[in-house]
């Protein structure tokens, strides 16, 4: 085991290397490019045997990845933002082929307006594709999740592609200490890829990706995919148990942070959860009973575990780093649905939107969230999603609009 400072991108590349991915179709996009640059070097110098191929788009890249996986080759790919949504129709296709592969997405806000900072609208656009999704908080978790992702993807109960998400800049370009597992230990955790369904072989004709014109047949296959995605919970649990035994780090479908006996819970995903943990530490030192539930496995959505974990809370606030225009926060609605389905009814359930396009969520904003939740009552009536925004950011917007030649009107509403 080696402990090194690695960016999230380098950690993702190390995950692919330790998984012994044999085929990497590639197309660059900021802030992901460092992943494929790193892998290109390793394929070139022979530290990774196999094939690294540059493609002409993410659409072609995912098609090549799915086709390669359908021949029984362990496949890795990485993209971000516009690249992910450009490949979106292929994500649906390769999931329908039920081929295991791992795709890393480096989250970045979607255009327009064009930006480079992270939020989760890109990766959540892929939430209905049939890909299993794991969202990482740290660079270590990026590397570990890639290894876990292959175990899930290749599990006979699942046999599906898995997407590992990390936030652009906040993880992708951020170095932090990462333990790199020994290659033979990684091999012990993740054996060779043994396909669980017939793959393309010379002189053994099979047809994959076939047309299905009957609604009944289509329903059957789509429902089978749903059940297979659900099976990823069991596959993840088995893999995480082995992982802990070999490497000492334990991962769940959710991370429960200081939620024992908590009255107030925040729900978040991704690297910004670290900021929420800092807020929780401050509040706990003041004697306030607060914790964080981090969504790690996003598909399948671990509804039962979320509901059980939040069952004792008086107030739950979901901070979405995404925005579904006209609806609000995506995770808020998924959490609310999970709670309702499991007959868990926290008296207060509120929605906040923060961190869009990489906007910071400051400790002042976390304090505002906590105070809102603490002072809220069960019968306050309906509340819309609240955008977290600071005076400094407001002034900055004013400044930029003035630079853009826009006439400022005094009303802030």
């Amino acid at each position: 085991m080696v402990r090194q400072l690695l960016t999230g991108n380098a950690a993702a590349a190390w995950g692919a290397r330790l998984a012994r991915a044999e085929y990497v179709p590639a197309f660059p996009i900021t802030p992901q490019t460092e992943i494929i640059e790193t892998l290109a070097d390793w394929f070139a110098d022979g530290s990774m045997p196999g094939k690294f191929v540059t493609l002409d788009s993410e659409h072609s890249m995912l098609t090549a990845a799915g086709a390669a996986a359908a021949t029984g080759v362990r496949t890795f790919a990485a993209t971000s933002s516009q690249g992910l949504v450009y490949a979106l129709e292929v994500l649906y296709s390769v999931a329908g082929w039920r081929v295991p592969l791992v795709l890393v997405n480096v989250s970045r806000g979607l255009s327009a307006p064009i930006t480079l900072g992270p939020d989760h609208n890109d990766v959540l656009a892929a939430r209905d594709t049939g890909f299993v999704q794991l969202h990482a908080e740290t660079c270590q978790e990026v590397l570990d999740s890639v290894l876990l992702a292959y175990r899930i993807a290749e599990d006979a109960r699942v046999s599906l592609p898995v997407l590992v998400n990390l936030d652009g800049f906040f993880l992708s370009f951020t170095r932090e200490p990462v333990e790199i597992p020994e290659a033979d230990r990684a091999r012990e955790f993740l054996g060779d890829f043994t396909p669980v369904q017939p793959v393309f072989r010379a002189s053994r004709p099979v047809a994959q990706g076939v047309a299905v014109l009957e609604g009944g047949l289509y329903s059957y296959f789509r429902y089978q995919m749903h059940r297979a995605v659900q099976n990823a919970v069991a596959a993840h649990t088995a893999a995480a148990t082995d992982f802990e035994r070999l490497f000492g780090r334990r991962y769940g479908t959710i991370e429960s942070y200081r939620l024992d006996g908590a009255d107030v819970a925040l729900v978040m995903a991704g690297s910004f959860t670290t900021k929420a943990k800092a807020a929780v530490e401050r509040w706990r030192s003041q004697g306030r009973r607060v914790g964080v539930l981090r969504l790690r496995m996003v598909r399948p959505f671990p509804a039962a575990e979320i509901a059980a974990t939040l069952a004792g809370c008086r107030a739950v606030g979901v901070i979405d780093q995404n925005l579904s225009p006209g609806l609000g926060g995506i995770f808020f609605h998924e959490v609310a649905g999970a709670l309702a389905a499991h007959q868990v009814q926290p008296p207060v359930l509120r929605s906040f939107i923060g961190g869009l396009g990489g906007k910071d969520i400051s400790q002042a904003e976390f304090d505002h969230v906590l105070e809102t939740l603490e002072s809220a009552h069960a019968h306050d009536g309906p509340h819309e999603a609240e955008l977290l925004f600071t005076r400094t950011e407001w002034d900055q917007v004013r400044n930029r609009l003035a630079l853009a030649g826009k006439t400022w009107e005094r009303s802030a509403t």
Binding site: G96, V196, Q197, P198, V206, A207, Q208, Q224, R227
Partner: protein, 297 residues
């Protein structure tokens, strides 16, 4: 409600037939739904169309499983299990088949409801000079059998639908002639009130593993089971007195429906030849004849 299901092949005009009946019922101030369904959009491939009309709002959509009337444009469809033209026939007051009067089809195809036949193809050939585009005759048969649509509304609907297809005035007039004749010569059938029994079992689907649960085909060569030869409009016939065994027809066949026998002569597999006639085009000695496929159209 009257539910009419039309069956034909691409080119027969069953979609237009369904629309003519729909428009006629609409002109009669009835509530109407009409829709076609087709998979492989190709001349000769099985096509179905559905028309519903009622004096009350129609609370149904899509495919008609329990038709009051089945209208079949081509007798050969009765032999194609995949086309399932008689599905739900027990609810039908009548089955109309475009075939010569007195054609004994009931026993051959196990048609249970009263059978009505009329040779629309012969009449269309005589008036329009084509064996396809049977929509006016098929629509007129359906309209008359229901007894709920007047000749006036039917003929207005024929004009309207063919005008939308940009038919010339002459073609429109000829279609009106055919429709009027069919309408005049057929008789209305008795419709029993539709049984409202709800059948069918609802079950729970579990996880069945990746092999069953993936849309893939592991049985090579199963396309042979699909008899695409019934889609043929024209039939290639090799003149073996001319054939020099050059093999170009076999190379040109996009469906692999020509094989070379041990003696070097090509043989056409008519169960799967779709009649694209590429073989006739590539034959350097023009030794492959184009003959009209002999069927009811």
């Amino acid at each position: 409600m009257i539910r009419i299901r039309f069956h034909g092949r691409g080119g027969h005009g069953v979609k237009t037939a369904g629309r003519i009946v729909g428009t006629a019922a609409f002109l009669a101030s009835l509530q109407v739904q009409d829709s076609p369904v087709y998979g492989a959009e190709r001349r000769g491939a099985p096509v179905a169309a559905f028309t519903r009309f009622d004096s009350a709002p129609i609370l149904e959509r899509g495919v008609i499983d329990s038709p009051d009337l089945i209208v079949i444009a081509d007798e050969t469809l009765l032999a194609d299990a995949g086309a399932a033209v008689l599905a739900g026939q027990t609810s039908a007051a009548a089955v109309f088949v475009n075939a010569p009067a007195g054609a004994r089809l009931n026993e051959k195809y196990q048609i249970l409801p009263p059978l009505v036949t009329w040779d629309i193809t012969a009449r269309t050939q005589a008036v329009l000079g084509t064996a396809s585009a049977l929509s006016a005759g098929l629509a007129a048969a359906a309209a008359k059998l229901t007894g709920l649509i007047s000749a006036e509304h039917l003929l207005a609907a024929v004009r309207e639908e063919l005008r939308q297809l940009r038919a010339t005035a002459d073609v429109v007039d000829k279609n009106v002639t055919i429709a009027a004749e069919v309408f005049d010569q057929l008789s209305t059938v008795r419709f029993a009130p539709a049984a409202s029994g709800i059948a069918g079992e609802v079950l729970t689907v579990g996880y069945e593993g990746v092999n069953l649960g993936t849309a893939s085909i592991l049985a090579p060569g199963n396309a042979q089971q699909r008899n695409t030869g019934t889609w043929r409009v024209e039939r290639p016939e090799i003149d073996y007195d001319v054939c020099t065994r050059c093999g170009l027809c076999q190379l040109g066949c996009p469906d692999g429906a020509i094989k070379i026998e041990k003696n070097g002569f090509p043989v056409i597999d008519y169960d799967h030849c779709k009649g694209c006639m590429i073989c006739a085009q590539v034959c350097p000695l023009h030794g492959i004849a184009r003959t009209k496929e002999v069927r009811s159209w």
